[in-house]
Symmetry: C2
Subunit: 192 residues, 2 copies
């Protein structure tokens, strides 16, 4: 099993349920890149169609991969070098196909309510273990637009703690999702 | 079992291993407050001895608990109202004692290398289930100072993914730790 992660900035919803392109959040790039490195993702695709936001994301990466940040913090360089900035989800799927020889299965996370059947984390662990290539996509702002959600092969169930409160940051949700799906490999290494 | 979480800004190490007071990071407060709410923590203590940093943390909380943020986002208000800003770990432990009638067991997380015996997550799940009151403490910057680490009842093992890369943000580490320790309660409620 080989997997990739993506962070989608368009099409996503704003608070009023309108479709927007969300802004790049610096710490999202850092946190998800470090998670990607920790759990063994091949690449981390930062997806935004906006040229200025692409430039911003690329400048952040450059600082840590080949700029001053690379000298300052080697660990961060290792993580940030996993990032590719792409305009659309389709572009990332094509890139993965070029690398792997096949399109990945698309698994999306969604905290919101929608009509799609949800994949439990238990089921998802089995899917992950038996699928050759996976793209695990996280949304920003108020969640991934339905039009894109319909293209997903699997929609993960929302993360529930002990309360019904269901409003985690994408940074926390990505951490929990990667740990739930991929730490069974860590377990077999005695890591958990 | 009742638990509290804390985020320590002093005493922690900087990159060179010197003891410092780290700066408040806005998104740490948001992300950990939302995690606290999701996993059922009683309070979230933001610990810093610096008056200006205490003021900053309090201003952020006020905005979301009783200022414009409260009108803008009720869910965030619910989470941010769990935050108490305190000068020292001792102060938070005393407050918990006042609320619970006993001092909590102190469980700390530490990604770094140190000489303390580590508690695995499996052991920690059992400890959590059989302990009445727990304070789960997260460090900032390059980790919690040894002088404080020695006061801990339990030091959790570092989070290991599939690689030996071990440099998660405190936001991601807190998310994974809370999910590993407290989602078994969610499981029994059919939440996972």
């Amino acid at each position: 099993m080989t997997f990739y992660i993506g962070l989608l900035h368009y099409p996503v919803y704003n608070k009023r349920g309108e479709i927007i392109a969300s802004a790049i959040t610096n710490l999202d790039l850092h946190d998800l890149a470090r998670l990607a490195k920790t759990y063994g993702a091949e690449r981390f695709y930062v997806i935004t169609p906006l040229a200025d936001q692409q430039d911003l994301a690329k400048r952040i990466c450059q600082h840590w991969v080949s700029g001053f940040g690379a000298l300052y913090n080697k660990d961060r360089q290792e993580a940030m070098s996993l990032i590719s900035v792409v305009p659309t989800l389709e572009k990332s799927m094509e890139e993965i196909k070029d690398r792997q020889g096949e399109l990945p299965a698309l698994m999306v996370t969604d905290a919101g309510k929608n009509n799609r059947e949800r994949t439990t984390y238990e089921m998802a662990q089995e899917i992950v273990a038996s699928t050759r290539v996976i793209m695990l996509l996280f949304g920003t702002a108020w969640g991934i637009a339905q039009e894109l959600m319909r293209k997903a092969d699997y929609v993960l169930a929302p993360i529930v703690g002990v309360s019904q409160y269901n409003h985690l940051s994408v940074r926390a949700a990505a951490a929990i999702t990667l740990d739930r799906l991929f730490s069974r490999f860590a377990e077999s290494q005695g890591g958990r």
